[in-house]
Symmetry: C2
């Protein structure tokens, strides 16, 4: 089973021009979106931090998905300016554009999971003022980003 879960990324559907199929092919599987969640909402930026997530991602799966996200231009990887021995991962603009997808996954999950841990205040706000939540989340993300070196 682990084998089945660790290798969905190399096989893509036949290209049909369908934008849903395209996005799903790029994203690959659930682990990719959980890494994106960690980058957006958990402030995670280091390899070791992603490993600590509650869902228990395996180290080989994490390495594969980070490399995939990097090659798709969704995540950038660079040497941490504060510690040359570490790599810093962050969402690119293309990655940040996945925020609305993630927010809709949150809304649906919070609605249908009776054991959801999603904070009610956040869900209510997301329902009543989605545009503001997107704007604020992006502003917070960008404020935390170290300055880009071109």
């Amino acid at each position: 089973m682990l084998k089945a879960m660790s290798k969905p990324s190399s096989k893509k559907c036949r290209h049909t021009g369908c934008p849903i199929a395209f996005t799903l092919d790029v994203l690959g599987d659930r682990w990719t979106l959980l890494i994106i969640r960690d980058l957006i909402f958990m402030g995670k930026r280091y390899y070791g931090e992603f490993l600590e997530s509650g869902e228990g991602i395996a180290t080989n799966v994490l390495a594969d998905r980070l490399s995939r996200l990097e090659s798709e231009g969704i995540v950038s990887k660079r040497v941490d300016p504060k510690d040359q021995k570490k790599y810093l991962y962050q969402l690119t603009d293309k990655g940040e554009d996945l925020l609305p997808v993630v927010l809709e996954l949150i809304l649906w999950g919070a609605t249908y999971d009776p054991k959801t841990a999603a904070p009610k205040a956040f869900i209510d706000r997301l329902k009543s003022d989605r545009a503001a939540v997107i704007k604020e989340t992006l502003a917070q993300l960008r404020a935390k980003k170290p300055k880009e070196s071109k």
Copy 2:
């Protein structure tokens, strides 16, 4: 590889209460969302119709995903009132609530796939008046639904 793609549904991530992980676990993989796409936008309702989609879903994968969607309460299956030998699949209310997720997948794919076949007029409308697109799509879906027999 086919084996890897046909069996992601039985293994779920550790339950953490995260609404994103919950939704991704329920959806399972890309094929599930492509079936939901076909139900929403292609007017498909029969097993054979889903098989004909351009992405080339295998019959065993289709059977597995339809059964999964049914057990998750996202799709309902019943004998076709017009032909007792056939089954009719349709989205439940819970399934229709996935429309916003699907629309965001469309937007992202249409933005980043240089070969996208997404109609520009639809994408422009989705960007400028998302709420109206949701309302109209749901209205069209519901108009096509045969009356529920309780």
